[in-house]
């Protein structure tokens, strides 16, 4: 539409994050109603005496899961869970979901039954009401969930939430749980290791993520202001926090808590998978150490402190035990960018 030969440029060259930035500029600026718009884990706006949160995530057959290799119940669970994780990353409470199914003609009714059984399990586990949606014909089976949640209002009128743009030099960086399990599960699926105890455990981490609503809410209550969930990978997601906050971050590889089954199954790659693998849906919390300690105390488990925020320009570095930077090329996951595409 604008300058130059845009018809020669395709979305793969710009990538997901370039496209989001481009679209943000194309849309009218958000009105006064909206507290937080494109660029965090969820949108936030005033709703009576509380704040409303909303997020949406899509799973596409053949892109996000392989139809022949999955239990449809797991796909249903995951389609809801990835959205719940965005609400967790805001420190909110999930409330109401809308589910859209795009179904190829000839889809077996039992496939849809299993999908909904998994969604129903997730809804029960997290207290979510599935209250509507849409069903349309499509050549590709696709599941989109839109999830609404709420957050309380602080005494000063601002929402009691966790934001990406609140990291400050000197803050400590913590993560919940163990990392790398989901990436290990994806590898186990590819290796067809679906029967060993570690393979089973890793696949469960991949297909049945457990979003950390508990940790998000405990963090808000403890005074933490900054978080993101791990969907693209620890380093890449921490990089989003750094960009939004205008800071840099150092993470020490030896301090990252690694999924035990991953160490057992893929010992040589376990640490790097924990640092860069996506879809763990644990939380990265960034705050003064006292607030992180209070969060851990509320959860009954100390949080692993893995790094530190410092002044600098928008990048997270991975360091070894001697403070030397580890090269992490092709870390994380861009949904549109080609392997080897330009930065």
């Amino acid at each position: 539409m604008e300058a130059g030969n845009l018809s020669d440029v395709d979305v793969g060259e710009i990538g997901e994050f370039g496209l989001i930035e481009r679209l943000r500029r194309a849309l009218p600026p958000a009105g006064d109603r909206v507290t937080l718009s494109i660029g965090d884990d969820a949108a936030v706006w005033r709703a009576g005496d509380r704040f409303a949160l909303a997020t949406t995530d899509t799973l596409v057959a053949g892109v996000h899961f392989l139809p022949g290799c999955v239990d449809w119940r797991d796909v249903g669970w995951k389609s809801l869970a990835v959205n719940i994780s965005d609400i967790a990353a805001m420190g909110g409470e999930p409330a109401v979901a809308l589910v859209t199914l795009c179904l190829p003609s000839g889809t077996a009714v039992e496939t849809v039954d299993a999908l909904y059984a998994g969604i129903g399990e997730g809804a029960r586990a997290y207290g979510v009401d599935v209250a509507g949606g849409d069903i349309v014909a499509s050549p590709v089976l696709t599941i989109t969930v839109a999830l609404y949640g709420t957050a309380a209002r602080r005494a000063d009128g601002t929402p009691a939430i966790l934001r990406r743009d609140r990291a400050v030099a000197g803050d400590a960086i913590a993560v919940t749980g163990w990392l790398g399990g989901s990436a290990g599960g994806l590898r186990s699926l590819r290796d067809r290791d679906e029967e060993s105890p570690s393979g089973i455990a890793l696949i469960a981490r991949h297909m049945r993520p457990r979003p950390r609503i508990d940790a998000g809410r405990a963090a808000v209550a403890a005074g933490v202001c900054c978080a993101i969930d791990i969907s693209d990978g620890l380093l890449q997601d921490l990089g989003h926090v750094c960009e939004s906050s205008g800071v840099a971050a150092d993470v020490w590889l030896p301090r990252i808590p690694i999924e035990p089954a991953l160490i057992e199954r893929y010992p040589g790659d376990a640490a790097m998978l924990a640092a860069t693998g996506g879809e763990d849906y644990e939380l990265i919390l960034v705050a003064p150490e006292s607030a992180l300690a209070a969060t851990g105390a509320a959860l009954g488990t100390p949080l692993a402190i893995i790094g530190r925020v410092r002044a600098g320009a928008g990048r997270a570095r991975l360091l070894d035990v001697d403070d030397r930077e580890i090269d992490v090329s092709r870390a994380g996951w861009d949904h549109l960018k080609r392997a080897g595409g330009s930065a």
Copy 2:
């Protein structure tokens, strides 16, 4: 999952509405939070001193529009407008939208720019904030919008909304605007009549629907309690009201206001297209005549009274000037059912 050979049954045999009913039973029942769940134009739940509304609709390339025959700006507009229409049908105010794009690799950036320009035009026209969404790779270009709106609370604590299940025997049935224009526009596109004044007008009705937020809000203020928007077609959508309300309805064909350009372009089919064509996104309002008259007065235009609700079992009939029923086979649009599939 349950009885019998479900793997032999595909979704085309059950159809969209059969599937919705099936899924409603598969999910846990909605909690106390939710006032209105699956089965109306939008979900409704309490949110502070007001009520929240949410709806979602999807457009799939090749199913809902033909990529070679459309202006992407129009597709963007429509993707938002069909959702705004659901909020209009509830008598609510639209507020915040999330937009999900599923993009095939190689999609031109200018296509996405045009889509977003159209969404931006709709957002400006209806005061909607686009505050987030998702972008994923997919073999099929698909646009899903989730739209969040609000409704006021009545003095008795219930939401001030229009519902499908509030039609009562004796109520009059009114429609806003003129009908059939969108179906005529689809036919004009197929006939490649994109240059005659009537063809242009009809295609605009098809690609740039103007949801009736004004009429929905005026109806709520005038005491109307029952409405639906025309997405599947007048008779089919009125049938949904009849099923939800446990009543029957008579509509007189000669009373239906027909889009003038449709009469000009397709005079022989105009009346039936107005009665059965989908996607006009006007409203059907069902209420005592006095409330419909007050709604029309507030809008500055009398509403066309086209029929009457009577006791009976869940069906809308189309009658000629002599009260004889007109056979309307294959009316409306089921998104999954095959032509000729079983009822």
